[in-house]
């Protein structure tokens, strides 16, 4: 009966439909041959308020996306510009010149030890401009990638981290200027330079912690979009970028170190200028504590809000 039915139908224009049933039954055979093996790890339960079991592993699994998003931002950044990537050199260089002239020459502030003022400024400018770019890019990153957030799932934390990574690439480029400056001034760094990666990591974590916190809030309350440029602008003068933190009165040193960038900038100078700059250890410890606190706060806030991003953005 069934076959006759199929033959009847086969001879009509509705062949498509019948082929369907044929192939589907074939497929069922296939399934018997190769039964699907489900990885227990791939079982996923979606429920309101449920935190993911494999959050950090998921993040690792998507590491490809970090690279790709960062690479996209880098390769798009200087398209259709005349001087291209040279912008990454010009901006910090000019800032250094201006700061050296204003703080060093006009205001006559002292450098660290015998290090040339320009070198001291640049050693502070390096971590600061990394922090500033990373913070402002990271805090706008989710909104800037709204089209992705609302259309595809991936661990959202990738977006701000990729933004910080892009800023880090800029940092590496400006580091080349620093090397050139050292050659120009014939300044020889000492063993402390080996500790530079540690301070670079602190700068990375500091900008990530605050950036992640702000970007999560920014999705819900766009006010933060206006707060960040302001904070970054003020921070340039509040942090010891154009001057040495040694000019801060001793009794205020600890309070001053609440700004996590103070410890990082001092650390950079200590590493790059060798013995010429002194490291204020209590300040560094405090800065580290503040940095860790912001990282904790940022991640907590981010993960709490992560699932509602698509609805709010």
């Amino acid at each position: 009966m069934v076959t006759s039915n199929r033959q009847m139908t086969m001879s009509t224009h509705q062949t498509d439909f019948v082929e369907d049933t044929n192939v589907v039954s074939m497929n069922e055979d296939n399934q018997v041959l190769r039964p699907a093996v489900f990885d227990r790890d791939h079982e996923l339960i979606i429920e309101p308020g449920r935190t993911e079991r494999h959050y950090w592993r998921d993040l690792w699994r998507y590491r490809e996306l970090f690279r790709v998003l960062a690479w996209r931002d880098i390769s798009v950044r200087y398209k259709q510009t005349v001087v291209g990537a040279a912008w990454a050199l010009i901006r910090p260089f000019l800032t250094m010149v201006v700061f050296t002239v204003i703080f060093g020459k006009l205001a006559g502030l002292p450098s660290d030890g015998t290090a040339p003022y320009a070198l001291m400024v640049f050693a502070g400018l390096l971590p600061w401009s990394f922090f500033a770019t990373a913070l402002s890019d990271a805090s706008n990153s989710l909104i800037g990638n709204a089209h992705l957030i609302s259309k595809v799932y991936f661990p959202r934390l990738i977006v701000p981290i990729a933004a910080v990574m892009v800023a880090f690439v800029d940092f590496l480029i400006s580091f080349a200027i620093f090397v050139a400056l050292m050659v120009w001034y014939q300044f020889m760094p000492s063993w402390q330079i080996l500790l530079l990666p540690a301070f670079a990591s602190i700068a990375f974590v500091a900008s990530l912690g605050v950036g992640v916190w702000i970007t999560a809030l920014n999705v819900k309350y766009r006010d933060f979009r206006y707060v960040i440029p302001f904070v970054v602008q003020l921070g340039l003068y509040v942090s010891p970028v154009g001057f040495s933190s040694s000019i801060v009165p001793e009794q205020w040193r600890l309070v001053y170190s609440l700004n996590p960038m103070v410890g990082v900038i001092d650390g950079f100078r200590w590493c790059l200028l060798g013995g010429e700059s002194q490291l204020y250890w209590p300040g560094l410890g405090l800065g580290l504590a503040v940095t860790s606190f912001f990282l904790w706060l940022g991640l907590r806030q981010f993960r709490k809000m992560e699932k509602s991003f698509a609805d709010l953005i």
């Binding site: 039915n5 589907v24 074939m26 699907a36 996923l44 979606i46 996209r72 089209h147 699932k307």
Partner: protein, 444 residues
């Protein structure tokens, strides 16, 4: 059984929606405006402190985009989701693909999920075709090696070999869509969630994509959830479908049945009262259809006519123009899936010049109704003096009851009910003596 890959239980999703207060216009005095702004500011500030969402507008309302939706899907199944705009289809897909979380309920997914809610998500206009393939692939969850392995296949599928190193902003929209879809078509997750992405691209390419999707779901045992307004695509791709209406699941079953249910939403009138005034229509409207009624040969009013019996349709016209003008009236018959079956038009069968004005009535008589038992749809059309006066976009439902067309107990072979027109015909054996009279002169 553990071959259930997707299990959704009581999924619900609500959003907060703000409305502008209706009395907005009455705020004229500056004092009132200030007072209102101050109130708004206070409310937003309070929301901020409590960590709530800021909603623009004076009244905030909770809107349920999805309500208590439950279904299960086995491995290798292709499920269609159909419904009008705003029925909650996209919300459901967003929950399944983990973009947003449900307000209530839960989903259990077994296997890696990839979602394709939009063609070319993350494509960057400044990057070249080649770069975008890698970018898009990574966003959709493919690894670099996986993309590199399939790269040639993707490019061949998209037919953009020549333009690989051109920024996609210089692409024609067709090329853009082809490339974007090609990447997506080469995804290999265990569960694939696809939104209305085939609405773009030319017909040829759409066919190719459907073919590709079909192939992967069948031969690799992939489970697919598919949303489309293209009911033909849903029927050919999906074994089962669900129908969503205002966030609720109102039908689940074989795609043919569910699609028919969905299409019925358009056929607003069943013949019970025969009033046509509330239907959606287009045309000049000086004269319009206002009533339809069905009768049998004895003049008895019917709700469902019988196959093979005499069937009379009465239609009545109303409108502002009672002057009779040369006209054309048509009644078109469709099956439940809106495939045209046949048309009864006055230009073919009315032997004089037909003139119609408001207040006229006409009957159309079909001596033997050539439809087997099942549900059909009727469309009505009126043209006067070369202008379309009334064209119903909604259909009138016609349920035909089982009668006999050929004088035998069966009208159609099994599986053909409700899908075909019956045509008078006869079968004979060639060795029957009476056949010779017919076959005389045939070169056998």
């Amino acid at each position: 059984m553990s071959d259930i890959v997707i299990a959704a239980e009581n999924l619900s999703k609500s959003y907060l929606v703000g409305h502008q207060s209706a009395e907005r216009e009455s705020y004229t005095a500056l004092r009132d405006v200030l007072a209102r702004e101050a109130r708004n500011f206070a409310r937003k500030g309070l929301d901020f402190i409590r960590g709530r969402q800021i909603v623009q507008g004076d009244d905030v309302e909770e809107f349920w985009a999805l309500r208590d939706v439950s279904f299960e899907l086995k491995q290798g199944e292709v499920l269609g989701i159909i419904g009008r705009n705003g029925a909650g289809k996209s919300t459901l897909l967003k929950i399944l693909s983990r973009i947003t979380e449900p307000t209530r309920g839960r989903v259990t997914l077994r296997g890696r999920v990839a979602s394709l809610l939009e063609v070319g998500t993350g494509f960057h206009p400044e990057l070249t075709g080649r770069e975008n393939v890698f970018l898009n692939g990574a966003i959709l969850g493919m690894t670099h090696n996986e993309i590199a392995r399939k790269f040639d296949e993707i490019v061949a599928f998209a037919e953009v070999e020549k333009f690989l190193d051109t920024p996609v902003k210089r692409y024609s929209s067709g090329m853009y869509v082809r490339l974007a879809f090609a990447v997506a078509a080469h995804l290999e997750p265990e569960i694939l969630v696809v939104d209305e992405v085939l609405a773009v691209g030319d017909a040829e390419f759409q066919k190719k994509c459907l073919g590709k999707m079909n192939e992967t779901s069948r031969h690799q045992g992939r489970t697919v959830v598919f949303v489309s307004h293209n009911t033909t695509a849903v029927q050919s791709l999906c074994g089962r479908s669900i129908l969503l209406q205002k966030g609720q699941l109102t039908a689940i079953g074989s795609s043919r049945d569910v699609v028919a249910r969905y299409l019925d939403l358009n056929a607003r009138v069943s013949i019970a009262n025969g009033d046509l005034r509330g239907l959606r229509r287009s045309g000049a409207g000086n004269v319009r259809f206002c009533r339809i009624a069905f009768f049998n040969r004895n003049g008895l009013k019917l709700s469902s006519p019988l196959t093979g019996e005499e069937f009379v349709i009465l239609i009545e016209f109303e409108g502002s123009c009672s002057e009779r003008q040369p006209a054309r009236v048509g009644i078109a018959f469709f099956d439940a899936w809106e495939t045209p079956l046949f048309n009864c038009g006055t230009e073919a069968s009315y032997d004089q010049t037909l003139r119609i004005g408001a207040g006229d009535k006409m009957i159309c008589r079909i001596p033997r109704l050539p439809l087997s038992a099942g549900r059909y749809k009727i469309g009505l059309f009126l043209e006067r003096s070369g202008i379309i006066e009334d064209w119903l976009e909604d259909f009138v439902l016609l349920d035909v009851a089982d009668g006999s067309f050929f004088g035998t107990p069966r009208n159609v072979p099994p599986g053909w009910e409700g899908k075909t027109v019956l045509v008078h015909h006869e079968w004979r054996r060639l060795d029957d003596p009476s056949t010779l009279a017919i076959a005389r002169g045939f070169r056998l």
